[in-house]
Amino acid sequence: MGYLDNSSITVDAILTKKGRELLSRNDGSFNITSFALADDEIDYSLFNENHPNGSQYAGEAIENMPLLEAFPDENNIMKHKLISLNQNITRIPIITISNQAPILQKGGVDSITPQTSNYNGINTLSEPSGYLFTVKDRRLFSSFTATGQGSAASGTTQPIASTVAVSETVIGNSLSFTAISTDSLFGTNNQIITTITIEGLDTGARATIPVTINKIAGSTTQFETGKTAVEVQ
């Protein structure tokens, strides 16, 4: 007879940039109420269901992977969240957006209405609890407004006067946003970009799209992932 293992795992958390900002506000917004789990870094192609030692060893490569330390950029961590679904689910919900890479002129207006596929056997729907829309640099928009979840849950945030990029999150079924109409953030650049991350509140499905803002009216150059672009810091 052996002893039962009653230990728990203890891990040290670090504050994100957003966390430090909220802590400095001292307005009650720094109040942790929920958690999420993620499997960033895991490549499931390493899972070997034909392992010669049997299925118990299928996760051998993954389970022995040393993990990197946490870093404080809230936009680039917790990217792949673990989600709770019924056990018999065989397809994972994914977010589809028709407007994959919006391009705006200064002062231009655009919108996004995401849909979720493979949720509870329904091909495409708007998630009942709505979506989180997180912009990486709020300074680039004079308005950033989500609608469709009532005024309490949805959000219209005020433009931020900051010398550094600050993220902002609103909740709703669709998002409309207006690019800034001034030149100050462009500097000598003709084009600046940021990203908007959309996350389904019911499914945890997530998608990130780039948003391009042109300084000169009429330009239609579109940003593509992997290409060089200017992101204001």
Binding site: A13, S29, I32, D39, I42, T90, D202
Partner: protein, 350 residues
């Protein structure tokens, strides 16, 4: 669902005192003392070297060299250092006077008081404290300690001509923590002994000259009483000529350097919050990780149908408005499926 609320009982507060060595690289006892020739310029009244000498752990310029503490000399009348302006109405205004008044103001907040050391035992003023004209100061670099220096950990050895080694400590253990409270925080006596325990039965270390000094752990400095110390170490007898760079703080540096032993710990109060993150068997068994599915959104492996298996690497902590406030990483991936539950204790320090 990708998020789970914490219950009230899942969050626990805790405060602990953490003690570390004060010196660089967590060195317990500092056995070297170096100065910077650029900083320790003692030739003019307004150079920083006339006020203090910065002491390094290693030769300046070598990797890892950092200022550990500074040494100063103060005199009530400004003796022992060059006057800023040696003229009528400005005599005695010198670095040594500035230093004396600066620390006097820090400790007493009152320009009429002077440093006193218990106790004077001569026939005239028996029972009172001894008031010397001057002080030596050891000021620990602010970046070397956290909240405060830890009483009871001071062990400083001075050496030179006279009686050889003088082992100094504070009397916090002997005084069972009881301290005089000043404008600079707690004040303990510097006495002969080790690790906060006084040798002998009295704080009067030298008859008629009082204790060896005063220790202010909350403000990070030590005031030494030259009149008592120079009884044991004649190299530390200050020279007190008017308008003369006697460089008395250089004498203190030599005594500390020759003593080759300076131990002092620092203390930090860390407030932590523990978040007990309970992951139930039916929760968090799927992932939005693209490598988990094929191009059509189907599970990548048929063996995972009805038995999905994912791996937890990261825990994110959120507020009510869904801002990611803090994040923690596991050291190794933790397998999760419908037959497993996990309890992860997330610690957040402030």
């Amino acid at each position: 669902m990708a998020r789970q609320d914490y219950n009230q009982e899942d969050v626990v507060n805790d405060t602990q005192r953490v003690v570390t060595s004060t010196w660089s690289n967590n060195t317990n006892t500092l056995t070297n003392a170096h100065t910077s020739s650029a900083q320790a310029n003692l030739t003019t009244a307004t150079s920083s070297g006339a006020f203090f000498i910065e002491v390094y752990n290693l030769a300046t310029g070598s990797e890892g060299a950092a200022v550990q503490y500074a040494l100063s000399y103060g005199h009530k009348a400004g003796s022992g250092s060059l006057d800023f302006t040696n003229d009528t109405n400005a005599y005695g205004n010198s670095p040594s006077k500035v230093i004396y008044n600066q620390y006097k103001q820090l400790v007493f907040g009152d320009e009429t008081k002077n440093f006193q050391f218990p106790g004077d035992t001569d026939s005239i003023s028996a029972g009172t404290s001894f008031t010397p004209d001057d002080i030596y100061v050891i000021n620990v670099n602010r970046s070397r300690y956290k909240n405060n220096l830890k009483p009871g950990t001071l062990d400083l050895t001075l050496s030179g001509s006279g009686l050889g080694f003088l082992h100094l400590t504070d009397d916090s253990i002997t005084a069972t923590g009881s301290a005089v409270i000043t404008n600079a925080g707690r004040q303990f006596n510097i006495v002969s002994g080790s690790s906060g325990v006084r040798s002998g039965s009295s704080n009067v270390q030298i008859t008629d000259s009082g204790s060896y000094g005063l220790f202010y752990p909350d403000s990070g400095f030590i005031i030494l009483n030259p009149a008592a110390i120079d009884h044991q170490n004649t190299d530390l007898v200050p020279e007190v000529a008017q308008n003369t760079a006697n460089n008395n703080h250089q004498k203190l540096f030599n005594a500390v350097k020759d003593g080759i032993s300076f131990t002092l710990d620092s203390e930090e109060k860390i407030s932590s919050k523990y978040y007990f993150t309970r992951v139930k068997n039916a929760q968090f068994n799927f992932t939005t990780n693209p490598s988990f599915i094929d191009n059509d959104g189907n599970l990548r492996y048929t063996t995972m149908e009805n038995n999905p298996k994912v791996y937890i690497t990261t825990i994110g902590l959120y507020n009510d408005t869904n801002d990611l406030i803090a994040v923690a990483k596991l050291s190794q991936p933790l397998a999760k499926d419908f037959s497993k539950e996990a309890l992860i204790r997330v610690k957040l320090d402030y």
